[in-house]
Symmetry: C2
Subunit: 397 residues, 2 copies
């Protein structure tokens, strides 16, 4: 019997093999290979190259990287063998999701043997995960899975349909339960796809809910740039090169003001518990700034607020439009009360000083917050960790 199965498999394989061949560009090697001891091997075939390096966010001496490749990352030299295969094995790496590119004679290039790339703004990077720790939360594990979907909500504010990423928890389809909602906002240059790619929000929620560490919840990830309907490549702008001039030219305040349309859409189309105790909002960088202002503008709407690597106090911006009544709004928010106002930032973050100012403003109005200071800069490693810490604190009362 085994032989027959083998033969039939062989027949199938042979018959359809060409189905793939229009695309097979990979070299016949594996890269990046994560070993059980958390070392990682990179391989790249380029017999004629003079110099090949790995630019990755796991490498030290970040500031010495002269290449645009993965800025804020270090460069590690690879070694060529007699077959023209360049190799590098790292020292053991901390459990984490990492990103990298190769730098071939000075030109940044994706690893052709690693088909896993995520896009951020106008660039793709290869990714890999080192498990055996924190990174396990960023992998798909043998736990029940929630559903990720991309509905479009009608936005009168922008005159368009706008694309969302929505996570519904495991069992949502089958059951009749109503759920709390976390609105999770991306940073400048990002879009509705970012928290579920680099951010690993889907995996984090699946894993935390699976372990019983977070309550089952719906997570809504909108696009915070009102000048965009949807992520690059998913909108009527087609396959253009993302640029700040083109698709991030937002009118300040428009996203915050238009946010009601998102809440309305979610509460009309999903089984949610539509009250303050079951609404949370959080965001990173620009999304943290959005969070500060949305959570105070929408009075008595959110019981849980998360501000990751951000600030609420842009002096120039604060002078105008919805930002004018900034302090007054915070005071009102304090009076209305809430369960958690969680602020986290890394000591290497370029917004660190601005975050100090922001907290002073909160102190001035007497708004109580939880402050968490960590290592790290303005990077995804930090934001994934914050989400992993933040979500278990939600909807516990």
């Amino acid at each position: 019997m085994k032989k027959i199965v083998f033969l039939t498999l062989f027949a199938l394989g042979t018959l359809f093999a060409k189905a793939q061949q229009n695309l097979f560009g990979a070299q016949d090697i594996e890269s990046a290979v994560v070993h059980p001891d958390n070392t990682v091997t990179f391989r790249f075939v380029a017999p004629d190259a003079k110099k090949v390096e790995v630019a990755g966010d796991f490498a030290e001496k970040a500031e010495e990287n002269p290449v645009g490749g993965v800025v804020g990352t270090g460069l590690l030299p690879m070694t060529k063998d007699e077959n023209g295969v360049w190799t590098l094995t790292t020292k053991p790496l901390a459990s984490e999701m990492y990103m990298y590119l190769f730098v071939v004679d000075g030109v940044a290039t994706a690893d052709p043997n690693n088909p896993y790339v995520f896009r951020d703004f106008a660039t793709i990077s290869n990714v890999f995960v080192v498990g055996n720790g924190l990174g396990d939360n960023y992998l798909v594990n043998d736990v029940p899975h929630g559903t990720v979907s991309h509905p479009w909500y009608p936005s009168k504010k922008s005159g368009k349909e706008r694309r969302l990423t929505v996570y519904t928890p495991p069992g949502y389809e089958k059951g009749k339960d109503k759920y709390p909602v976390l609105y999770l906002l991306h940073g400048y240059g990002g879009d509705e796809g970012e928290w579920s790619s680099f951010g690993r929000a889907t995996q984090i929620l699946d894993n935390l809910i699976g372990k019983g560490e977070a309550k089952p919840m719906i997570m809504v990830m909108p696009n915070g740039h009102m000048a965009m309907e949807a992520a690059p490549g998913e909108s009527t702008m087609g396959f253009y090169k993302p640029s700040s001039e083109k698709d991030r030219a937002d009118e300040p305040g428009d996203f915050e003001i238009g946010f009601k349309e998102i809440i309305d859409f979610v509460e009309a189309n999903y089984r949610v518990i539509p009250d303050k105790a079951h609404r949370a909002i959080a965001g990173l960088s620009m999304g943290g700034f959005h969070t500060v202002h949305i959570s105070r503008i929408y009075e008595d709407t959110f019981d849980y607020i998360g501000v990751f690597s951000s600030t609420g106090s842009l002096r120039r911006v604060s002078a105008e439009g919805i930002y004018k009544e900034y302090k007054k709004g915070l005071k009102k928010q304090k009076e209305n009360g809430f369960e958690l106002y969680w602020i986290a930032i890394g000591t290497d973050d370029f917004l660190f000083d601005s975050n100090i100012d922001f907290r002073k403003t909160l102190d001035d109005v007497g708004l109580e917050y939880t402050y968490v200071e960590t290592d790290g800069g303005h990077v995804w490693k930090v934001w994934r960790k914050y989400l992993t810490w933040f979500t278990p604190m939600l909807f516990k009362h």
Copy 2:
């Protein structure tokens, strides 16, 4: 007022600019740029490279391409200017979605200035769309958008949850209507994500429904490799290099037999019309083979059958298991009746002869089909076109 808006934008931009910089690897040029006359310009900065070429499926002389890059495609030479920028502008291209890579001194590499890449099996390719014709169907246009989601269905057959891609038509969330369902199957080496990336199935349906050319329908795209729970990177196998040995080692027949679990899940969880007149099934290559067998095994289940670039008559496979009663099953299918059995294949397809055999088998049992012969080989260009032609014929009675 304008000045103030500008200033605030400037402040926002400056403040959050660094949010992106951990990832900015792109060179400060655009590529691939599609011009109004359908010519396309590629650009790549590599001052030290000796030779840079574009490997794309729009280039002629496919067979002369010696590189693994995009097999089945031609190579076009680029020209270097005094700044080390390599450039190529094509002649006007037919309206279509194309894929390409650069070949830099013999090494295939993704275009660092085009963040749009799709993965097929173990490789990524850059993509772009030339509009003004057929290709417009593959773009997001200003029409109402359906929702793409990724639920997981419980599969007793495999003992796992397995990931689906599901398209629900515009208005599904709001309304109470019930819809017909098209089950759309991928080819060997593919997964549940392929029809919605390379296949542009989402855009095709949005556009055809928007123009009133196709009926609003739900489209279900499962993973046809039972050895996989989900597409590479979306399963518990992590970020591995896809390989036929690892994740395509299916037991022949398992997918077809297990298909009932998919129908059951869809009919239990979506607003569908659960009868034969409102069920269609179609697939490309291996998915066409699956379609042939599922549509005859599940008696009286599907009124619409689409076999794209495929065959049903694998002699060796047909000798065993569910394939043993192949002809008998077809006869039963004929007796039960159906609305449409649509077969299409390109004259350059490596399965062309096998498709002739397959049609002879159908003739033998007197099963009537519509046969469409086109240009082209075993490639996505052909399959997108077939889907564009097939879906308007569905659910019309």
